[in-house]
Each structure stands twice: as C-alpha cells, then as structure tokens.
Amino acid sequence: MNAKIILAVVVVVAGLIAGVVNFLESNVEYGDFTMAERVERTIQVKGEWVKEAETRFDAEKGQFLFSMRDEKGRVMPVVLAGAKPNNFEIATSMVAKGKLDNGVFYASNVLTKCPSKYEGDASAVKESL
C-alpha cells in the first residue's frame, strides 16, 4: 500500500478517536443530588426552586444563593456564580450544571424552563381581543 494513504488513514482515525473522546467528555450527564455526591464531577441536576428557603444575591462575591429540590425530592443549597437567572421566579423547573462540594451545589450555569413563552397561545389571543 501507498505510504501516503496509510499516513492519511492514520491521521483520520486518530482525529476521529480524539473527536469522539472529546465529545463524550464534554457531554455533561444528567443526575440528581445523590449522584452528584457520589461522582464528584460536573453534572446537570433538574429540579425546582424551594421558595421558602433563603434566596438572595451576594453582591460582594457576585453569587446568587438559593435552594433547589431535585426530582427525587432532595433539597440542596445552590451557589450560582453570577446573577439571578432570567425568569427565575416564574420558571416551572430549572437545570443546574455544576459540582457538589461539602453539601453545597456550586453551579456554573442555571437554565430556567418556562411555560411556552414564545408561541402564541389561546390565553394570549384572548388578552388582545
């Protein structure tokens, strides 16, 4: 076989393997707080805001502090690096991406999910009559 072709195949295969490994590494798994305790790496936890618990913004550190209840019902304090996420109060659920450390979930990002907000719905059409 041609040396050039072998070289090309090796480069392609190596590139693909590197790509796949990278893909698997950067896909953040979904889990709950119990799993976060066990695995000690960044995961995504879906849950809802615990309204009764302390919820405030720490301007000194630039952190937003709140508590979240995961889908199994376990409540955990969350420290989000950044400001309060958009639509935080009206969100039906949220996904926090981060790591658990010493009983506190340190989130790098919290995505809020809202009841269908862009598509026109029946209640919206009634309002504009």
């Binding site: 893909f23 950067s26 953040v28 639509n87 009206i90 809202c114 907000k117 059409v125 504009s128």
Partner: protein
C-alpha cells in the same frame, strides 16, 4: 385567503418548471423551453405577490391573520415592522423562498448563456418548489380564528359593543372575534440588526442551492469538468453572503444581546457555519480540478454536501429537536414540518448522491501527479481540514439528537468541545492558507520555497513574540495558532503584492486570506487574552477594575419602562460614560439586559449589566411598651411616659377632622436621659407617623416612630404603645448597587477589519470568476 392561493400557485408553477425543464433536457429540444421558463417566471411572480400581500397585511396591522398577530404590533417603528415579515418560521421560509426565486431569475439568464439552463434550472426549480411546499404546509395567511377556533368562534347574536368581529356564516349567525393588537416582536429582536442580519444570511442560504444545482446538472449532462467554471462565481457569492451574515450575527450577539463575545458555538450560529465551511472547502478543491483535473468526485460531493447541510441545519433549528438545550428557544412547529424537512433532506441527498453513484464508473480517473510539495496538495489538505471542522461542528450541534438516541436524555456539548476539536484544525488551516500561496502547482523546488517563506516566517515570529510580551502567555497551541495566523497574513500580503503588480484581477484570493488571518489573530487576542471581572458598583462610589475607575452615577428611564444605568469610566484623566440597559419585558416575562461598550483603537471596554440590588435598609426593631416600662434597643433604653392629647381639639376625633396625638418617651443612653415626643397625625387619608431622631454620643442616629397606639380608657396603667426603632446604618449595609460584568477585549477591531477585508476579497474573486466564466458563452442549442 388570496395569499394562500397565490402560494399554492407558486408551488405548482415551480414544480411544473422543474418538470418542463427536465423534458427539455430529456428530449434535447426547445419544445418545452417556453413552458419551462414561463412556469418559473409564474412561480417567481406569484411568490412576489404573496410576499407583497403578507407585507401589506403587516403594515396595515391585519391582526385577523395569526402570523401578523403573533409577531407584530401597532407600536413598532417602520423598519422593525417590515422586519417582522421574517420574525417567525413561516415568514422566514417565505423570505428564503423569495430570495431563491429572485436569484433564480438571474441564474436562468446566466445558465442559458452557458448551455446549462435545462439541467440547472430543473434542479433549481425543484428546490424552489420544496421551499414553497413548506409554505403551503405552514401557511402564513392562516386566520387567527382557524388557529384558535374554540376561543374565537362564537354563534348567536354579536354582543353590543363588540366591533372587532367578522361574520363567518350569516345564515347560522356564526361569527368570530379577532385581536385588535398584536403580541409584538420579541424585544431581543428589536434593533437594527434584525433588519439587516437575517436577509443577508438568507441570501447566503439561497445561494447555496446554486452550486448544488450545477453539480447535479453536471452529472446529468455527463459533464464532469466544465460545470465547475460555471458554478464557481455562485459558490464564492454564497460563501461571501453567508460569511458576512455569520459575522454580522456575531456582532449582534456581542454588541446588543450581551453574550459577552461574538461567538458562543450556539446551534443557530453553528448551523450557518457548517455549510459555509463546506462551501469554502469546495471552492479550494475546485481550483485543483481546474488545474489538473483531479478531485472530480470530491468536488461533486462537497458541492452537494454544502447544500444538504443548509437543509440539515434548518432541520436542527426549526424542527424542535434541540428542545431546551440552547439559549435560543426553538418552537416545535408540529409533525408536518418535522417530516417535511427530513423528507426534503432525504430527497436532495438521494438525488445528489444517487446521481453521483450512478455516474461514478464512467467518470475519468485522473492519476494524482503532484508531489507533496505542491499547491495541489496544500489545497487538498486545507479542504480536508475545513471539512473536518464542519464534521466536528455537525457532531457537536447534533449532540442532543445523538445523546437522545444513546442515553435517552438530550444534552448539549460544552463549548470546550468545539475549542478543543477546532484549534488543531485551525492551526493546520491557517498554516496551509499561507504556505499554499507560496507553493507552485505540480511541484515546488525546496530552495525557492524556503526563500519565499523567510520573510513571512520572521515577521510571524516577531508577531508571536509581541503577543507573548504584550498580552502574556497562554497555552502552547494558542501560540502556535497565533504564529500560523500571522504567517498566513504576511505570506498572503507578500504574494498579494506580487500579484497586484502583475495582474490585479487575480488578487482576490490573497485579500480574502489576509482577511481570514486578521480575523484569526483577532479571535486569539479578544477571546484568549480577554479579561473580565464581576464588579459591584455602589451608587456614587468609585471602584477600580481592570485599570479603569468606574462610578455608577444613577439610572434614568427611556422608551417608557426601560432603564439606562450610567457609569462613568475614567482612565488616565480621560472620562467616558457607558450606559448598559435593563428592563422587564412582558413579552418574555423576564429581565432584558443589554451591554454597552467603549471601542478604543486597541481594545474594547465592555460592560454587561447583571442586576441592580436595592440599597440595604438598616435593621428595625418593633416592640410594645406599657406605660412606664423601659426597653433596651441597640445601645439605648426607651421608656414610655404618657400619651399627649393636648393637641386634640374637643370633638375633632368624632367630627373626622385632622388631629395629632403625641407620645412622650424618655431615651436613656448610659446616664444621659433625653425626653422625646413622637407624633401621630391623623388625616382623612389615615394615620401618619412622624419619626423623631436621636443622635448618640458617637454620632450614630436612631430613628424612632409610633407604630400603633393602644390606650386603655379604664385602667391608664394598662395603656400600651407599639414603637418602631430603626437602628443606625452600619458600614456593612450598602446603598443601591449595580452589578456588572466588565471585560477588556484586546484588539477586537482585528476581527471587524478582517471581516471587511474578507468580503472585499470575495467580491474581487467573484468579478474575476464571472469574467472567466464568460469566456465560453455559447448559447444553449439542441444537440
């Protein structure tokens, strides 16, 4: 009603054009040519009429149409009102189809001169008809009462006072009410970028269909070489429009949406990047085929793929499959559009690749004759690397689909994935775009190559050293990327200068490469050497951050309920102000935040607002006191002495006149005692408590006020008063605080200068390639 019919006419006419053009091709006779051209023109005119109707509905606020109601409102200024034409799915498909149709009119004239009309136009008409089919299914002319029949259609007499109704069936007295105001445009889209960015991007999307049509036409005609000469100007045009659109979108995200940067590897951004990369790869490999005849299959494959990825990207961002995994919200358009888009991909993939496999055996096999040290090989590797970037971006963007299949839960990849996979490929691409220009076709002599490499290498090393010294070190690969980008810049400047002195017509390629190299250098300096910091700005207090003295001086409203937060920024005596904005949007039910920036020659100072924290209030204590009782509060003791009714005129209380009741108290601080009188004014509006202040020996101020009076008429000793005491402000409590993210983006202007240079390079190349394609303009004649 009429709009929907016109769209259907356009669809059928485009389908007929595809059919008639195919007959012209099959029969090799002009018999069907008039019908084919007529059908295509009918499709174009119908679509233009449909677009004009939709636009007039928008401009005259016909909210009885769901699309108009859903995306526009009466309070929008004219440019934004026009832009609502393509704010939703139906309208953006319409714009895409409209551009495809208009380009088709020019393509028809062009192709007829190149003897390519029947084949190119039959494929192109088919593409147009599929886009129109999308509009037939997702009709922008739907009545709002057909969308919400349960809520809007009523029967019986119309109630008095209702004027916004239409009688649907007079005999059975069925009528429908329609909205008088639209829902309006998403505030994120309410700026001038919305007016220019989507149209440019859609021109690029539409143009990608042309190289595809030429590739399939080449296969139909068994013409495996000259289709390239005909298609190239269009490929370059598509690459220019799409590339410019992508960067404009990036600038929009940076300047207005406040993403913090111009590129976030978001699905919507990626989806236009993928076809762009493949189109660039195709432009480069076709160069080789023109010289040596090699890469016949590669060129067919890449030209077909560039268009298929436009369709796949549309599927990703329009079908709802990405769900909640992105900052963009993807509306689920329903099963019809989902399957139609998938079917559309399958149709054009099987048409393109089916034809390719069918003709594969008879294609000429041109042996590879060039050496490793040749321009052909550099072009091949460069196109290979570009395609690989495209593949990695496709995989990353499709992550929610892939993970759904294998794990059952959709999840997106981290941005890091894209950086890791594209950085090594970016190094290869920038290096090759420099070295490729220095190499000769077929074979280069090592001596002459090294000689021409000398100057760019030295200058690139100098640039890398400069970046290292001025901006500090970063990871090794970034330095390599910096070197390669600088090498490409200087190599292309050197080559471009020589070409310009020889034949200026050929200089477009070098200029485009200079643009890309400048952009890559800008990517490194602005994204890798940026600095950012979350800063809490207490009103009136100066904070130093990133070498700038920032003072938040207050906010003011603009455009009704939006607020601009003014921050004075000072450095070395020069004072500027930035005013990022925040407001609550009823439309998105959330806070909208827009950054502001100062554009310096060497950097941007970028301020993104995060939130406004109300000033912290001093703690308060409220307690009840019996007459004569004393209570400790802070460092004071407060004793309730007696009520003072001396200011109450006889009968005032009963007659409802104003009156004032006093409460005498004694404040004791250590051994010092001070009598104080607290007042409650009773007014028709209700009681008003007038506070009194007490300043201690160490200058801290307490504020005391009545909260409630509870006199006991029978037993005066049981009379009680409730007091509220506000304790002194301590240093921990802050005033109103604005929280911002401040960042420095060094040499970000390189990205914008590079973009303009790139577009100029593309324009020069188009002019050159159009002239070149004109050399053989034999009008199509039946053979």
């Amino acid at each position: 009603m009429i709009g929907g019919i016109v769209v259907k006419v356009a669809f059928l006419a485009a389908l007929a054009a595809a059919f008639f053009y195919y007959r012209v091709h099959r029969e090799q006779s002009e018999r069907w040519l008039v019908a084919a051209r007529g059908s295509f023109h009918l499709a174009v005119i119908s679509l233009m009429i449909a677009s004009a109707i939709l636009l007039s509905f928008i401009l005259t606020h016909q909210f009885q149409y769901t699309y108009v109601w859903n995306y526009s409102s009466t309070d929008l200024p004219l440019p934004l009102l026009i832009a609502t034409f393509y704010a939703g799915q139906e309208g953006s498909f319409m714009l895409w189809a409209l551009f495809t149709a208009i380009i088709g009119v020019f393509l028809m004239v062009y192709a007829s001169k190149k003897a390519y009309e029947p084949e190119v136009m039959s494929v192109y008409s088919l593409i147009l008809s599929i886009l129109l089919l999308m509009l037939v299914v997702k009709n922008p002319f739907e009545y709002v009462w057909n969308t919400f029949p349960n809520d809007l259609i009523h029967s019986g007499p119309v109630p008095a006072g209702v004027t916004n109704y239409i009688i649907l069936d007079a005999a059975r007295s069925v009528w429908a009410q329609f909205p008088v105001e639209g829902r309006g445009l998403n505030p994120l889209l309410q700026n001038y970028w919305m007016v220019i960015h989507p149209p440019i991007l859609f021109v690029g999307f539409s143009a990608m269909a042309v190289p595809y049509a030429h590739a399939v036409a080449g296969l139909m005609k068994r013409d495996y070489h000259s289709w390239i000469r005909v298609a190239t100007p269009w490929s370059v045009f598509g690459a220019m429009a799409l590339g410019f659109g992508i960067i404009l979108g990036g600038y929009w995200a940076y300047e207005t949406l406040g993403w913090g940067g111009y590129w976030a590897w978001d699905p919507v951004e990626n989806s236009s990047l993928i076809p762009w990369l493949l189109c660039l790869a195709a432009i480069h490999t076709t160069l080789t085929q023109r010289k040596s005849g090699a890469f016949v299959r590669t060129n067919f494959t890449l030209s077909i793929l560039a268009f298929l990825t436009v369709l796949y990207s549309t599927f990703l961002t329009r079908s709802g499959v990405l769900g909640d995994t992105s900052v963009h919200s993807f509306v689920d358009p329903g099963m019809w559009v989902y399957w139609l888009l998938l079917g559309c991909i399958a149709l054009f993939a099987s048409l393109g690749f089916g034809m390719l496999f069918y003709r594969m055996r008879e294609m000429p096999k041109i042996p590879v004759e060039h050496s490793i040290v040749s321009r052909e090989f550099a072009l091949f590797l460069g196109a290979f690397a570009l395609s690989f970037v495209a593949i990695f971006v496709i995989i990353g963007t499709s992550s929610p689909i892939i993970t759904t299949i294998f794990k059952g839960v959709a999840s997106a990849v981290e941005i890091n994935y894209y950086v890791k996979t594209t950085l090594p490929l970016g190094i290869a691409i920038t290096f090759l775009s420099g070295i490729g220009q220095l190499l000769w076709w077929k074979h280069s002599k090592t001596g002459s190559l090294l000689k021409s490499m000398a100057l760019p290498t030295v200058l690139a090393l100098g640039t890398t050293a400069l970046v290292l010294i001025m901006l500090g070190t970063d990871e090794f690969l970034i330095l390599v990327f910096t070197f390669c980008s600088a090498f490409s810049l200087f190599a292309n400047l050197q080559v471009g200068y020589k070409i310009f002195r020889g034949n200026p017509k050929f200089v477009g390629g070098s200029i485009a490469h200079v643009g890309i190299a400048l952009m890559c250098l800008g990517f490194v300096t602005s994204e890798r050497y940026d600095d950012s910091l979350t800063v809490a700005l207490e009103r009136g207090k100066t904070v130093e951050a990133l070498g700038y003295r920032m003072t938040y001086v207050g906010y003011h409203p603009y455009e009704r309920e939006k607020y601009a937060f003014t921050i004075e920024v000072e450095r070395e005596g020069v004072k500027r102000t930035v005013a990022p904005t925040m407001y609550y949007s009823e439309f998105t039910k959330g806070i909208m935040r827009h950054p502001d920036l100062i554009n310096f020659f060497t950097k941007d100072f970028y301020v993104a607002p995060l939130s406004l924290e109300e000033g912290g209030r001093a703690p308060e204590e409220t307690f009840e006191l019996l007459q004569g009782e004393e209570q400790a509060v802070g460092s004071l003791h407060v004793r309730f002495v007696d009520f003072d009714f001396s200011n109450v005129q006889q009968g005032a209380m009963l007659e409802g006149k104003d009156f004032t009741i006093g409460v005498d108290i004694v404040v004791r601080e250590g051994t010092r005692t001070t009598p104080l009188k607290l007042l409650m004014k009773n007014t028709p509006q209700g009681p008003e408590f007038v506070p009194s202040r007490y300043t201690t020996g160490d200058q801290s101020t307490y504020q005391l006020a009545i909260a409630r009076l509870m006199p006991d008429r029978e037993d005066k000793s049981k009379s009680k008063v409730e007091l509220t005491v506000r304790l002194p402000q301590t240093s921990e409590q802050k005033g109103e605080t604005l929280l911002v993210e401040a960042s420095l983006k060094p040499y970000i202007n390189l990205v914008w200068v590079g973009t303009v240079t790139l577009v100029i390079g593309f324009l020069l190349t188009i002019i050159h390639r159009v002239e070149e394609a004109r050399l053989k303009h034999d009008r199509w004649t039946p053979q």
